[in-house]
Amino acid sequence: MAQSIQVREFIQTVCEQVKAKRAHAIITNELIAHIEDQTEAYMKSGMDENSAERRAIAQMGDPVTVGENLDQLHRPKLDWIGIVVNIVMWTISGAVMLFGLFLGVATFYSLWTTGQLVFGIIISLGFIAVSLIVAFTVISMFKFISNMLFYRGLASDYKKRKKRGEYYGKY
């Protein structure tokens, strides 16, 4: 059954509050089914379809509040891809800096053979990777930082306030 604009808008606002995208389909189906049942009931009591639907949607409550309540339950999984990418990029950056440092020292002191230089860089890469893994695991335990890891927390908060009419200022 095709959904009317008002139903789609309601569902969209609810889902916007839910950061876990994989829960959107479940929530959408369940809420639409409910609105349909409610609309049918109102139509049976004499309303025309459009008014019945509008009343049914109003009966659902404030979409932002509903979405917020659902968001607290459907927590998104950690963004493992994002974490891995971060670890790889930081490791590469660290490697480049270390390489430059070693080259500088090696040139200055003429102390290293090429083999020792390469070995030293590999060991350093290992240390950087391990410490980054530990750091990200610890940081991810603090919710507000882990939200920033995929930046959606800030964006959806802005949309939420904008919808409520609170002026958030220059973002």
């Binding site: 369940e30 409910h34 409550g61 404030d62 659902l70 339950l73």
Partner: protein
């Protein structure tokens, strides 16, 4: 005449009432709201926006389970059923309510 009851009195026992409904039969969301409304003589008119977060929360804690049934008109409905943990929780809540309401009555009549 429909009497208005303080919302805070209602919200505390909502989970217990929903579980009681599911104790007798599996239901979908809209059905729960209708049944609750009828059985409570229109005192408990639960909003969908309150019910679904509650159901999803209960499901995550293993208090209820859900499954989908596709009706003849191709409409798919999510039914909820109570689990053993849910039955135990319901019994605990009933006992709690028994203690609470008796105490209130004692004081009011004392």
């Amino acid at each position: 005449m429909k009497m208005k009851v303080d919302k805070s009195l209602i919200s505390g026992s909502t989970a217990m009432l929903i579980l009681r409904l599911l104790e007798s039969e599996d239901m979908y969301g809209y059905q729960m709201i209708e049944t609750l409304d009828k059985q409570s003589n229109n005192v408990f008119t639960l909003k969908a926006g309150t019910l679904y977060p509650l159901l999803h929360g209960l499901e995550q804690e293993g208090i209820v389970k859900s499954y989908e049934i596709i009706a003849e008109n191709a409409r798919s409905r999510k039914y909820y059923s109570i689990t053993n943990a849910g039955r135990k929780l319901l019994q605990d809540k009933k006992d709690e309510w028994e203690i609470y309401s008796s105490a209130v009555n004692l004081v009011l009549e004392g």
